[in-house]
Symmetry: C2
Subunit: 603 residues, 2 copies
């Protein structure tokens, strides 16, 4: 076993490289598929152009951000009193690079898989599912492989230079034994292998119902979970860490699956809540909104209870280390979870291409089925994402507490309580901004589309082509500009609080602001962001599916008053589920990571 | 000074009796006013019958509840291991009785002041304002007087029997010195006197604008606040408590006023947010909903910051005792704050009577102005209510912590963290139920109204009278039935957690459930209930006023598409601001009080 413990970082790096090889092979397989008729390829090319324009713009802004933050981190690391290793900058830049690469590869294959999925669906449902899912698995495997490769390399480098990398352990460093540090690495590596293997279980037969299609995806996901659960026990016993560590990992894994299940229950029209919401649309738009928000509020209960049970199980089995391990456990199936998630937009796009290229009705029926499946998996993916963000943030907060050493605390300390209130307020302030950002960004595009129709001759008649890239550039610019304020908030609040707390040290203001404030802020924001994100994702998903349920001919079908009301719900739900809800994950991870990087200041 | 300290309980009781005498005199004055024409009196009688039927029904349910809880408390007080004084039952029953009496008197005068306000408004705006406000002051003064009388008598009785009444001190008993205990009593008593005096400052002149009318109410409220602030300092110095205690009291007082101000800014169409919301209604119902929710989220920021500043100020000036004193300070002007709040429905009703009895347009303009004023004061009253509920609950939690003795705590204790999540979830579960309760209760009334039209001969033609009482009975029954589940939740959760924690003591389950869980639950629910209540109250108020703004002829006026969209917003806002939002105050006070009563179990 000593070999595995000693070389966990190498093992995980090799597995990650293998994952990348697999991703390239999957990509090659997708590219070999028939890309369809000329018309289909032309539509796909328009999507590709738009996507490329989007990424180009986005990466310019991200590059500026990365340079600025790197400069700031370098400055801090050379400042007296900041116990910040210059390797933090290396870690930051490699993380940004890995994230950028994963986004690039994922986007690149997704916009090429769409017409191929439509063409494959022309032959069989299974063909369509496999092409779309293979492209999703490129994204899933690339993200996880690059992340693991980054971690592996960083550990190799850092242990080489013996840096003071305490704050860099992504919460793992709580338990200092080498076995305890090797465990999450090995689980993550094994998780990637199992995820890759189980992607091949995702297949279906002709005429499959929505339930059967969901069953195909579940087969892949649940088989992967079951195998990983067994491996969690085996590795824990082999490393002599005791069964408690495995219980913690399995608690996280099971919690992820359970949250996904609960999300499905609240957002799929197979179940009562969304059916009931669709029926309420007969009472008009106001009733749909009230019922949708109530549904969202109610849907928070089960994930909250799941998190409570998982946290208690992980904590009692292996302490705070167990909570961090539960986060790793939840993320161990990320390879296949992300694949099911990334599958959705490809299927959606394939449906669009099938419609615009006037493919036969049986092909449309197949792409519609694949698209509807994508809606449900997207909602489940969001539930999973917020659940894992919560566990990850909890582990990061634990690391912050460990670095600052403020474990024992007066529960009614005014700094702690006011930190809670401040932190709890942040997700609402953040969501208020992101919710209105969509509308503001959209308005710019409307203006540009009108301009193009006015100024490009032949566009109205269909003889000239629109300037897609410019529309994308405008919407990207607007979207990013609208996100500057909320993004700055997530960085500025912990930075200002920590700098303030440092300055307050030894003065009378120490009683007003301290590390306790930051811990309170982190916990308060974690709590509220989790609740609001689940509420928004589920209300949005349910509104979307309630509308689709009516569009399938129920309750008067398309064009009925019930449908009009449901469209209002769906429109409100869009920023809920696609903007504000998911971006809260980023807020809470950002708050926790920024605080952790700055934590040495409050040692 | 010894005299005042020694006899604070007697002094406060005498002041309270004086308050009741004033309330009766105000009531007599209102009753002496001209009740208007026969038609006006007939309409008013219909309202009176409905109100009486409502109270009768409500009190039957409340009486059953009081008997059940009293029996339970008596049982607990005679059970081994429960350190619960039988005087708790006395306190509980007298509180219920006082609450019932205040509701009865307030309702009784309100439904008699409505036609008198309309008739007085026929002569002058000032006349209408004074009649309506006088009836509001009956409610305000009665509530505060009965509360103070109850506290005074209880302290007299309890100190007589030397009961173990630690848990009964409504968080005051933190600081055990006799002066420290006398201070809040004296401030509350003086606050009542000042509030009564300042009700006479509320008057206006003919043709006053909305801003001037608001100014009249503010004159009363702010003069009262200024005088009380001075008295807070004087009494603190006389009792030799130090200026810190006065700072804490004034912090609470100022926070209440500031929260009111912030509420006004976000919900009055004098300011940008509601104007902007009204303009967004041109984009259709979905945009109004999105913008309204974003407004509500944003509006949470200022009250949260106010609470943070007030808590820090109170805590650093006088510790946890200071936080309790801040709550008392915020409530010291309750007599006049409640009067401005209770004024609203009377003015609203007067407007209805003026309309239904076809009074002249200049009378309608006056009652409309008085009604619009009531809308703003209602929103401000809600902001004040949630602010004071937060401070009160914080003081109650402090008492819980003190009784259970779990002050020093590991901030990452799994029980604490899971308690947070559980507590944070409760307000959402509670709101989900109360939001849909309104709709369910309303449906029963619709059925009954249809039945009456079908079965009562001559009703459709206007020659027969509808059976108001039955409609009220049905809606009351439904409303109360719908509230049983959320109400039971607020009682059951702390009871079950505390019983569970007691049983877990000394077993392995001690690590899963303990007093830490309950503290976490209380703080988590406090945080989320505060945020959600402010969000809902302000979004609801802004939607209401945005609609009214359009109805006054802006943005196309009544009947325009913008108006239709604004009506959707207003309809969503109704359960937000009138049901779910305000009932969250009750949830958080109930959770804290039930926990505190049960706290001795976890000593």
């Amino acid at each position: 076993m000593e070999f595995f413990v000693e070389n966990a970082r190498w093992i995980v790096s090799v597995i990650a490289l293998g994952g990348l090889v697999f991703a390239f092979r999957q990509r090659a397989w997708v590219m070999q598929q028939d890309a369809g008729t000329d018309l289909m390829q032309e539509i796909a090319r328009a999507v590709q152009q738009g996507a490329a324009a989007f990424l180009r713009r986005e990466y310019i802004y991200v590059a500026i951000f990365v340079v600025l933050v790197s400069a700031l981190l370098l400055l801090l690391s050379s400042t007296e009193g900041f116990d910040l290793s210059p390797w933090t900058v290396v870690a930051f830049v490699s993380g940004a690079l890995a994230s950028g690469l994963a986004g690039f590869f994922g986007m690149q294959i997704a916009v090429r898989a769409n017409s191929r999925t439509a063409q494959a669906a022309a032959k069989s449902l299974d063909g369509g599912l496999r092409v779309a899912f293979a492209s999703g698995s490129v994204m899933g495997t690339t993200v996880v492989s690059l992340a693991l490769l980054g971690i592996g390399i960083l550990i190799v480098v850092l242990s080489g230079v013996a840096a003071t990398g305490d704050t860099l352990g992504i919460g793992i460093a709580q338990n200092k034994s080498r076995e305890a540090q090797a465990y999450p690495l090995l689980i993550a590596g094994l998780g990637l292998i199992v995820s890759i293997g189980c992607t091949f279980l995702v297949r279906t037969q002709e005429g499959a119902t929505q339930g059967q299609l969901l069953g195909s995806l579940r087969r892949g996901l649940y088989t992967a979970s079951a195998i990983i659960a067994v491996l969690m026990i085996v590795v824990a016993l082999l490393l002599d860490l005791g069964i408690g560590v495995a219980v913690a990992a399995i608690a996280g894994l099971a919690a992820g699956a359970a949250i996904g299940f609960s999300t499905e229950y609240f957002t799929s029209d197979n179940y009562r809540p969304t059916r009931h919401l669709a029926e309420s649309s007969e009472g008009g738009p106001a009733i749909v909104i009230i019922q949708g928000i109530a549904l969202g509020m109610l849907s928070v209960v089960v994930p909250a209870l799941i998190v409570i049970v998982a946290t208690l199980a992980a904590y009692t089995s292996a302490g705070l280390y167990g909570v961090a391990i539960a986060a790793v456990g939840m993320l161990s199936t990320l390879g296949i979870t992300l694949a099911t998630d990334a599958y959705g937009p490809v299927a959606d796009n394939a449906g669009g291409i099938a419609e615009m290229s006037h493919m036969g009705s049986e092909v449309r029926a197949r792409t519609d089925a694949l698209d509807a499946l994508g809606n449900t998996t997207a909602a489940v993916g969001k539930g999973f994402a917020i659940g894992s963000a919560l566990m990850t943030a909890l582990a990061l907060i634990a690391a912050f507490v460990s670095v600052t050493g403020i474990r024992q605390i007066n529960i009614l300390d005014a700094r702690l309580i006011t930190g809670f209130v401040l932190g709890g307020m942040l997700p609402l302030l953040f969501s208020a901004q992101t919710m209105t950002a969509v509308g503001k960004a959209a308005r710019g595009v409307v203006v540009e589309v009108r301009r193009q129709f006015r100024e490009i001759p032949g566009l109205m008649e269909g003889t000239a082509k629109p300037d897609y890239a410019r529309c994308v550039a405008i919407s990207t610019d607007n979207a990013i500009r609208q996100m500057i304020l909320p993004g700055a908030l997530a960085v500025a609040v912990p930075v200002l609080l920590i700098l303030g707390a440092r300055l307050a040290r030894g003065t009378d203001f120490e009683r007003l602001l301290g590390a306790e404030t930051i811990v309170g802020m982190l916990i308060g924001s974690l709590l509220v962001a989790f609740l609001v994100a689940v509420l928004m994702a589920n209300a949005g998903g349910a509104w979307d599916n309630a509308k689709k349920y009516i569009e399938r001919g129920n309750l008067g079908g398309k064009g009925s008053d019930a449908h009009k009301a449901a469209v209002v719900g769906d429109t409100v739900g869009d920023p809920f589920k696609d903007t504000s809800g998911p971006s809260l994950n980023i807020l809470l991870k950002l708050l926790a990571i920024v605080s952790l990087v700055m934590a040495p200041l409050l040692k």
